[in-house]
Amino acid sequence: MSGDIRELYQQMIMDHNKNPRNFHAMTDADRMVEGYNPLCGDHFKVYLKLEGDVIKDISFDGSGCAISKSSASMMTAVLKGKTRAEARGLFEEVHKMLSREIGEPFDAAKVGKLATLGGVCEFPSRVKCASLAWHTMLEGLEPSGKQVTTE
């Protein structure tokens, strides 16, 4: 098996894929946003419960590849209890990490555990998978009314 495949599908990612965190519909959510990549079929809903400026609770459900699902799972684990501004900030950092040029470094300290997704940039066709849940979440915080897709 090649090294970059091993890195892409490392243990933490496979664990989130197999046992996704916060993987359920939320009946009393304040916001529910759907993210859909029709070409590859990744299809998730992100649920948000807000209290003032704080993400009180966040969950997701749906289906997709290991990369999209584990990224969504990690995202919900990290964002619970964060403020809107912190969530926006993390979105920016994750976006930078995923879409950087191959071989370029990124600030791992700013993204914490999410750095496990750093290897995705080696696989340009998979960046859209890793970023889908994040764009869906952002639409929940800052609604634009547009259909969420990263294709």
């Binding site: 090649s2 997709g64 290991a66």
Partner: protein, 410 residues
């Protein structure tokens, strides 16, 4: 080793320069032939030769190059006619591809000869290009689209097809070979049943022409559509075969040069077949390249190609079924060399990425046949689609890489 007498796959592979390429340092294992086939050197040379030594517009110039280009363009049409067994080369319309051919018929035949309430019958295994044009027609003039169901093996249920073939049905459009399942439809029987009720039939032959011999006269289809690039030819060129009696009474598809006989601001007289449907400067190099592709495929012979691909299919089916957790989607008795499958919990795109790093090119997704995915209740499949230049060893490589996928997703 192939049972096909005198079959030398290594010799054939040398005709396709790309098959010697490496991907991530691994030999390219190209198993995405249902998406597009690779091109033999002869086709590549034809395109280079045309643009470097022969380029000129056709039907216009009173000079040597234009006359030569016109002649080669006509010769290619004649080759297509022979290849598919059409009665006349006037029945061969050059279009951009299968999609355009299907749209042309939906628009030109549909808008003229169908009316609100008329039914068009298709199957559940159509590619989007044989669904959406009819839905557009339904929106435009109010026809109704009827869909004949398929069984768990991915075969058309003929009993239901017969029931759906009511007096309201005024057109039938069916896929010859399903791109997502590999199913070969009993098109001859379908055509026979429809004709018994006076209903014209179009066949989407995109996945058939490079894999099985075709005789449109014997089939008796009224329209047959296919793409050049799935037949070793260039992209951007395809063919609509139509019976003369239909093409003659249909209005043109687009207006412009070449499709007219005379134009005044009061009245335009359309040109004869096939030019009536070929407005504007066509894809001349593509047409000539397609002619070379047909020469090449005929030099090998479609009977032998089909026999060898069936050997690959049997071998591949057997080997894939030995991979733990693998389920084939599409297990029709009569199949073309397409292996569509799901593997345990692994999503098709993850499989695609892992295979890609081994130099193996396959397709992952819904294959532009979302209703098929819905029928089998899967979001996507991984599809290996074979051609006559593939080898048993390449199938072994695919299987080995799938074991690697299983390891990652254990």
């Amino acid at each position: 080793m192939s049972q096909e007498a005198g079959w030398d796959v290594e010799k054939i592979r040398r005709d396709f320069p790309i098959l010697g390429e490496k991907v991530y340092g691994k030999p390219l294992t190209y198993l995405d032939n249902a998406a597009t086939t690779q091109k033999p050197q002869a086709v590549i040379d034809t395109l280079a030769q045309y643009y470097s030594k022969e380029n000129a517009n056709i039907h216009r110039g009173i000079f040597c190059l234009s006359e030569q280009a016109t002649k080669r363009y006509k010769t290619a049409r004649h080759k297509v006619q022979g290849f598919i067994g059409a009665a006349s080369d006037k029945e061969i319309i050059f279009v951009r591809g299968t999609t355009e051919a299907l749209n042309l018929v939906a628009q030109c035949y549909g808008r003229t000869f169908l009316k609100a309430g008329d039914e068009v019958l298709i199957t559940h295994m159509e590619h989007h290009s044989n669904i959406v044009p009819w839905q557009m027609l339904a929106e435009g003039i109010g026809i109704k689209l009827k869909v004949a169901p398929i069984n768990d093996q991915g075969e058309l249920i003929m009993e239901d097809f017969k029931k759906l073939l009511s007096d309201k049905v005024k057109f039938v459009s069916v896929v010859h070979v399903s791109n997502a399942l590999g199913t070969v439809n009993p098109v001859k029987e379908i055509i026979h049943l429809a004709h018994a009720k006076g209903i014209p039939v179009m066949v989407d032959g995109a996945q058939a022409v490079a894999h099985t011999p075709l005789d449109v006269k014997d089939l008796d289809c009224d329209f047959y559509a296919f793409s050049g690039h799935k037949l070793l030819g260039p992209t951007g060129i395809g063919v609509l075969y139509g019976k003369k009696e239909f093409l003659e009474k249909m209005p043109p598809y687009q207006g412009g040069g070449d499709m007219i006989r005379s134009v005044t601001f009061e009245k335009t007289v359309y040109n004869d077949l096939p030019y009536k449907f070929e407005a504007g400067t066509p894809h001349i190099a593509g047409v000539i390249g397609l002619g070379t592709a047909i020469d090449y495929i005929q030099s090998i012979g479609l009977e032998r190609i089909e026999a060898y691909e069936q050997e690959l299919l049997s071998y591949g089916t057997e080997k894939l079924l030995q991979v733990p957790g693998l389920r084939l989607i599409g297990t029709a008795r009569h199949k073309s060399a397409i292996l569509s499958f799901v593997l345990g919990e692994a999503h098709a795109h993850d499989i695609g990425t892992i295979l890609d790093r081994q130099g193996i090119a396959i397709r992952a997704g819904h294959h532009c046949a979302m209703p098929v995915m819905q029928r089998f209740n899967v979001p996507a499949t991984t599809r290996a689609s074979l051609a006559f230049y593939n080898t048993f060893e390449e199938i072994d490589r695919l299987v080995a890489a799938l074991h690697e996928v299983t390891e990652v997703f254990r």
